[in-house]
Each structure stands twice: as structure tokens, then as C-alpha cells.
């Protein structure tokens, strides 16, 4: 794996098979009881994490009105906009990016109906790098496990973080437990997400993410596990248990 910017093509990281898979899911993004149920349940925990980290980084009060006012945010792999819209309500200027045209169409229609101003683009992180864009906050949530070349993708995401900015990433860990719970249980037993959504071999360990971000000038400051309680149907953060999936926060100095 190489992260040399010169040899990168703008669509190198997009996997056409993954794009097709998510096109079929697009209309379900906003149905909380549909195939995105798990993401809807996960949303409060990851939004709180992103808000609190960003507020600490930029010296804001997370409980204030519109705590992210004025900050620019890029949501890579935004899907139907489940995270994009809340960040816009918190005051950020948000750009949502997705390789799947159907997702962008759903996201634009939904944001329009909610009177939210969000820039949605069917584009890749690499294309925005080529345009010379930079953001205070870059999000790569539940996306790196779906791209063809994770190291290139991570380098692109890192390159889009403005000086002083931060990056939040969430994904599955590459452990036996993640395979059992994230793939076998979630896809085949509980049917939370369609079968074939995840390929365990593409999962990354936190150290591998950190290794891909470091050459681009980003330092990982925090990693926390995401733990699911099937009784309360709620997710929570855990400092000790990174075995299944995790949230990671990195900063550019």
C-alpha cells in the first residue's frame, strides 16, 4: 500500500460493487425501523462524541446553542445524511460526499424537506483534494471498511483536514469478535444490515488507521470502543473494549 499523492487517481478508492450495494439501500436510509436501524441507534453516541471532540478542539461549549456555528465540516460517505443533517442543525457548514448517486439524491431531498442547507456532492475525497479544499472537521464514519484502498482513502481524508482541524473515524476492528458480532450476528442472525454489507478482511485495526494518518500530519488523540447493549438497544462508548468497533479522533497541529 502506498500513499504517494502523485500516483493517486481520483476514483482509485471507490469500489463499484460497494456503490451498487448501497444504491439498493438508498431509499431505506431514513426509515428508523428499516435496514438502517442500527445506524439510527448508533447516532446519538457518535454525534455526542464528534460534537464534544470538536468543541474541545475549537474551544466551544458543547451545550450552547449551535455549538459548531461557523465550522466547516466534510462528511465522507454521508449516505442519506444521518450525521450530516444533525451537524448542520448544530450550526456547521456541512458538505456531504457519497459515491452513490442514489444516496445523494435521497440526502438532498431529505435535507430540502427539513429546510437545511447542506452541500451534497456525488464525489470522492480524492476529487476534493484535487480541488484544494480543506475543512475544520472531516468525518469518515462506517466508510473505510467499504473502500477499495483504505490507505489511499485515509490519506485523502487526512489531506482535507485544515490546519488546527480534526478527523473523526468509526469502523469495525479486525478481530474475531468483530467478525462474530459485526458480520455473523448483525448480518446473518439479527439481520440488522443486509447480508454481504461487510467484508471482515477489509476491517482495520486502530494502529493501522493511525499509521495511515501519521504521514499526512495527523496524530490520533483518542480511540474508544463502541459497545452495544441488546437489552436496552443502546450503544455506549468504552475505553476498554475496542474489540468490535471503535471511534477514533485525530488532529492536525
Amino acid at each position: 500500500m502506498t500513499t504517494t499523492r502523485e500516483r493517486q487517481k481520483t476514483h482509485a478508492t471507490v469500489d463499484p460493487a460497494e456503490v451498487e450495494k448501497f444504491s439498493a439501500l438508498a431509499e431505506d436510509w431514513w426509515d428508523p425501523e428499516g435496514r438502517s436501524r442500527a445506524l439510527h441507534r448508533l447516532n446519538p453516541v457518535r454525534l455526542a462524541y464528534i460534537r464534544d471532540r470538536a468543541c474541545r478542539r475549537f474551544g466551544r461549549n458543547p451545550l450552547a446553542e449551535r455549538p459548531l456555528a461557523g465550522l466547516s465540516v466534510l462528511d465522507v460517505g454521508c449516505g442519506g445524511g444521518l450525521v450530516t443533517e444533525p451537524l448542520a442543525r448544530l450550526g456547521a457548514r456541512v458538505t456531504g460526499l457519497d459515491a452513490t448517486p442514489a444516496a445523494i439524491a435521497v440526502a438532498e431531498a431529505h435535507a430540502g424537506a427539513q429546510d437545511l442547507e447542506i452541500e451534497y456532492r456525488q464525489a470522492t475525497a480524492a476529487e476534493l483534494v484535487a480541488e484544494g479544499r480543506a475543512f475544520d472537521l472531516v468525518l469518515a464514519l462506517e466508510i473505510v471498511e467499504h473502500v477499495a484502498e483504505p490507505a489511499v482513502f485515509l490519506a485523502d481524508c487526512a489531506a482535507l483536514v485544515a490546519p488546527g482541524g480534526g478527523l473523526a473515524l468509526s469502523t469495525f476492528n479486525r478481530t474475531g469478535k468483530a467478525f462474530l458480532l459485526g458480520v455473523v450476528a448483525a448480518e446473518y442472525l439479527l439481520r440488522w444490515v443486509p447480508q454481504g454489507t461487510h467484508d471482515w478482511r477489509r476491517f482495520l485495526r486502530p494502529s493501522e488507521v493511525a499509521g495511515a494518518l501519521r504521514p499526512e500530519g495527523l496524530t490520533v488523540r483518542d480511540v474508544q470502543g463502541l459497545v452495544y447493549n441488546p437489552l436496552t438497544e443502546a450503544w455506549r462508548l468504552s475505553r476498554g473494549d475496542l474489540d468490535v468497533s471503535y471511534l477514533l479522533w485525530a488532529e492536525r497541529d
Binding site: P32, P44, L47, A48, R51, E65, P86, L87, Q114
Partner: protein, 424 residues
Amino acid sequence: MVSDNLTVEVAIAGGGLAGLTLGCALAGAGLEVAVVDAEAPATALDEPFDGRASAIALGSQRLLRGIGVWRHVGADAAPIHDIRVSDGRVGEAASRLFLHYDVEEVAGELGPEPGGPAMGWIVENRVTRRALHRRAAELPTLRHLAPARVEGAERGESRAVMTLADGRRVTAPLVVACDGRNSPLRQAAGIPMTRWDYPQDGIVATLIHALDHEGVAHEHFLPSGPFAVLPLTDLPDGRHRSSLVWTERREVADGVMRLDDAAFSREIERRFGDSLGRIEVAGRRWRYPLGLQLAQRTIDRRLALVGDAAHVIHPIAGQGFNLGLRDIGALAEVLVDARRLGLDLGSAPVLERYQRWRRFDNLALVAVTDGLNRLFSNDLGSLRLARDLGLAAVNRAAPLKRLFMRHAMGLVGELPRLCRGEPL
């Protein structure tokens, strides 16, 4: 036709105790709120409008204090220092085996409370209503539309639009139904109810009596149902007052309502005894049919039910208003948390958190109050002995008794932050 359409974050249908309390809680946390109130303020605050008084448990008082309403209640709240539960028959002294709750028994667990130790307060509804109106007027993000009638609500995929009878429209991500036990919005949503009537009516009046009640609330179980005499604040001229809640079989209640004041007072003395001295009735009597109803769901698309719209319970334990206030504490917390995460306030995941949180508490109180009423509203010798022994046993088992007391004070279960005395 007034063309003054509004767009807010939460549209509340109903400006009674529940609707205005929720409105004050949310607007105090910075949310844009509209409360649509069918009554003109002058009517709602007039004495004949509502003669009831409500027991306000400690957890409820903390909520009202936290949202800035309690300071407007001020000295008009009568603290309860002691609750005496007894069993008896008309014309007999109360059973000796009575249950006695004294605030000193739980004082250690409470910590210092502003206003001194109390198990709860009895406040006339019109006093609470006046305090809510005053607080609402202080909040810049609260629009109190009164008088205004809700004609209906169209609850769509991305927003709800409430239509008022005068043609105005209130648009919001969420509509909250605080529109009472016959909630038109609940009915329009087709939410099924579980309900049954008790063959009892509640007769309510204010009593003036010769002796000081010393902060003691009496709950006297008679065969026809509970007979409660609850402490109110003294009149300015120093006369002592209590609030009477007399549960009576419906056919007997007709006769009770027809008695003249003197005869009515003597009937009260026959049931209550002479511990408050000579009793006189002040002002008019009210009569309310008692029933139980519970909504099978408390949420629907962009709709949440609160207070009497969601549940009406037997007044036997004085928990109806407190249950509604815990709904309000939970919903306000769910909405404020969701807003701080940028979530859509009317979206299903947000509303589900409210429904899940409240389900157990609501069901438990329905079951407990119904069970108490069935246990006590009869004159069967065996049950009478069993409940006397039961009351005495509870009185001796300190941990069980403390649990009951904490329940009555609204301090059990997963309490909303406001009911724990914390800010939203």
C-alpha cells in the same frame, strides 16, 4: 382570520397544567415553543374554573423549582409533614392499626431542601396555574396562544402543521398532545385506550376548620372509597383550611351533592372525626367521575402524549399530577438532549426514547392505584382485617415503609434530571 402563522420547535396542544409546565420547561432551555390554550387567561385563573388541589411530591416540586415556576407558587403551597393512613367505617373512629409516615424518617436521605423538610405539598390547581401563567410570560421563546383552539394536526414525513380554529397554522417538527383525558389529537391518531370506569365519583371541596392541621395529610379508607383531608395554607385572616377529596359510590354521591352546606359538613365530621374541630365548607363543591385509562402507545408520527392525554389514574394516592410531571421531566430531557445533538425532535428514535422511559412508571402506577382502590373500597370483614394487618406490618417494616414513602414522594425509578433537582 388572523394571519400570524408560526414556526416553532415544539407545538403544544393544550394550555392546562401539563401543557404550560412542558412549555415552561422547554422554553427555559431555549427551545422555541408554542402553547395553544383553549381558555382565556382570565377564565382559567378564575376560582370556579377548577376547585381541585393537587399533591405535589418532592420530585415534582424539584421540577417546578428547576423550571422557575415554584417561586411563583411561593407561600401558597402547604407542606405535608406527616401522612396518616387509616381504615374505618362511617361513624366509627379510625382503626388503631394505622400507617403513619413522618418526614423525619426519610429526612436523612433527602439532604437539605430549600423550604425545609416536607414529604410533599398540597397546592390548589388555580395557584399552580397562576404560577405557570406568570412564568410563561417571563420566557421570550414561549408563545402562549390563548384563547385559541386546536382544530387538528397534519403530521407529515418531515414536519407537523397544527391548524387553529382562527385559521392560524403552527408548524413544528413535533406536536405534543397535552389536551386532556379526551385528547382529540390522540383520538385522531387512532391510539387505542385501555379503560374502565370506577363506580365512584370524587367530591371535592375546601374545608375551614377550627384546629390547625399541623401539616398532616389524612387518608381514611372507608368502604365506599378513600376519604382524604389534605392540608392547605391558612386564609389571610388566620382561619385554617384543608382540601377534601371524598370518593363515594356514584348513586350515593348524587345525594351528597344535594345536601345543604350544614348537612354536608356534618356528614364530613361523621366520617372524619373531630381531630380538626368544627368543620365548615367554604365555597362550592365539585364532582368528578373517576375512571382509569391508559393509552396503549404514548407516541405516534411526530406526536407525543403527555399527562392526562396518556393516562388517567385513580386519585387514591394523589399521584395523577405527579405522574404527568414525570412525563414532562422525561420528555423535556429527551428533547433537550436530542436538540443538543442536532437530531430531528419529531423523529421516531427520539420519541421512542420517551415512550420506553415512561412505559414502566405509567403502568406501575395504574396497577398500584387500581389495586389499592379495589383492596380498600369494600367492607368485607376478611379483607378489612387483612389490610389492617398489612398497614400495621408496613408500619413496622422500616425499609419497606421507606420505599413506600420514597414512592409517594416521587423519588423512585429512573428519574428525569429535573425531578432529581438538576438542570436540564
